[in-house]
């Protein structure tokens, strides 16, 4: 690990100013550090200054009607501990609990998960199915980007130099589910995962698949096949078929393409049925 100094700004403005004052390749942003420390240790990043977000007022979770806004530096454990998240966004509850262990989730954050943009992220597919948006602050002000445009590839996001993720906004409570396949059910990396959510406002399904590079993706053909509410068995079959056929699923060192495609049908079927129980 290269030597670095730790800068701990007290306000968002100060944090953005500190980032802006240094060449981008010399600074790194630290939230929980559960991804960043590996990049610093492994020499992938050679930051001379590490900017800690721990004093920023972003450890928040606010419901406004059916809209949920989660501050970027809130530890993941606080999301699963919110009773309304469990009741109104069950897929998000499940996805958060799929990340690492309790002790990891006491430090790891939603902002960090988006910032790392891992193809195996358990949160990005669920955020896609929930049509979540990322609120950003930077030297030229604020902007909002849908998760679908924010996450580009592993370690690649739409973040501009000196920009920070402030919060993630989920527009409505949705019947939702998240299912994955791994070697061990907990505390392991997902080989393949399916996130589904039903939008009451839009009367439509959202379906995302994840686990393979370059990034988690939505599959509109599957959404159309599921129809406007309770899908029949043939609807489900067609939806699974369209993912198996159309999704750009590939192999990597964790799993083969064929294995991943085979996992689509059982994961999708069970995930949609789990929501069906809530729709009733």
């Amino acid at each position: 690990m290269t030597e670095f100094d730790l800068i701990v700004p007290s306000t968002p403005d100060e944090a953005v100013a500190v980032l802006h004052a240094h060449p981008p390749e010399e600074v790194a942003v630290l939230a929980g550090g559960t991804d960043l420390l590996f990049d610093l240790d492994g020499g992938r990043l050679r930051a001379r200054h590490v900017v800690s977000l721990r004093r920023l007022p972003w450890r928040t979770l606010d419901w406004n009607g059916a809209t949920l806004t989660i501050g970027s530096t809130l530890p993941l454990r606080a999301i699963e501990n919110d009773p309304d998240v469990r009741a109104r966004l069950p897929g998000l509850y499940t996805a958060v609990r799929a990340v690492g262990s309790v002790a990891l989730r006491h430090r790891a954050t939603l902002g960090g998960n988006l910032g790392r943009a891992s193809p195996a992220s358990d949160l990005v597919p669920m955020l896609l199915a929930l049509d979540a948006e990322v609120e950003l602050v930077g030297p030229s002000g604020e902007r909002t980007v849908p998760v679908d445009r924010f996450v580009e590839a592993s370690r690649k996001t739409a973040l501009r130099p000196s920009e920070l993720i402030r919060a993630v906004r989920i527009p409505e409570a949705r019947p939702s589910a998240y299912l994955w396949q791994r070697v061990r059910p907990f505390h392991d990396i997902s080989h393949m995962a399916v996130a589904v959510a039903f939008s009451p406002a839009g009367a439509r399904w959202r379906v995302a698949v994840a686990g393979f590079p370059p990034r988690p993706i939505l599959v509109p053909a599957a959404e159309a096949a599921l129809g406007p509410a309770h899908p029949s068995d043939p609807d489900l079959e067609r939806a699974a078929e369209s993912i198996v056929r159309e999704a750009p699923i590939v192999a990597d060192r964790r799993a083969s393409e064929e294995y991943r495609r085979r996992l689509v049908r059982p994961l999708l079927t069970r995930a949609v049925r789990a929501c069906g129980e809530e729709l009733r």
């Binding site: 690990m1 030597e3 670095f4 100094d5 730790l6 630290l30 550090g33 559960t34 420390l37 590996f38 610093l40 590490v50 800690s52 721990r54 454990r77 501990n81 609990r97 690492g100 262990s101 309790v102 002790a103 990891l104 006491h106 430090r107 061990r184 059910p185 907990f186 505390h187």
Partner: protein, 161 residues
């Protein structure tokens, strides 16, 4: 003008000056090498085994993935401090009652993880959730049956594992 107060944290009730701690130092190394508290174990150093689990402000944390300077102002409890912590003491007693260890390397991590769960959840919650919540702690001796028995004995509804 007076110089700013040096950064500090508390470890098992004792105040520790963090002024000399380099920004990259992990809490695990601060505990074991700076403070000579060898009860906290290093297993993987990658967040994967839970052997290094301690409590930071009452919540379980992986000391191998925590920068010491980041917990400035916080209170750390390690296995050495468990007897003086109400939940830590209860978990320790439960492990002793069942004999929930073989080589003992994973034990400090399990005890602190369970103490954190007791503080957070009390004695309720389903048995399945308890197992999920212990998923981050590995026992290389595979002595899980007794560990799970000890954990289950801390719950209100005595479920047969």
């Amino acid at each position: 003008m007076t110089a700013p107060a040096p950064p500090r944290c508390r470890v098992n009730g004792r105040s520790v000056d963090l002024g000399d701690v380099p920004p990259g130092e992990r809490l695990l190394d601060t505990l074991r090498w700076r403070l000579a508290l060898k009860g906290t174990k290093e297993g993987c150093r990658t967040g994967s085994c839970g052997a290094c689990t301690v409590l930071v402000d009452g919540k379980s944390a992986l000391s191998c993935l925590t920068l010491t300077r980041e917990i400035e102002g916080s209170a750390v409890t390690t296995i050495e401090g468990a007897p003086d912590d109400p939940e830590g003491a209860r978990v320790r007693a439960a492990f002793e009652a069942v004999g929930a260890l073989q080589c003992g390397y994973c034990t400090p991590g399990f005890v602190m993880a369970l103490a954190g769960l007791l503080k957070e959840r009390g004695r309720g919650g389903s048995f399945d959730e308890l197992l999920e919540d212990l998923g981050g702690n590995l026992c290389r001796c595979t002595g899980y049956a007794a560990i799970v028995r000890a954990a289950a004995s801390l719950r209100t509804e005595e479920a047969e594992p």
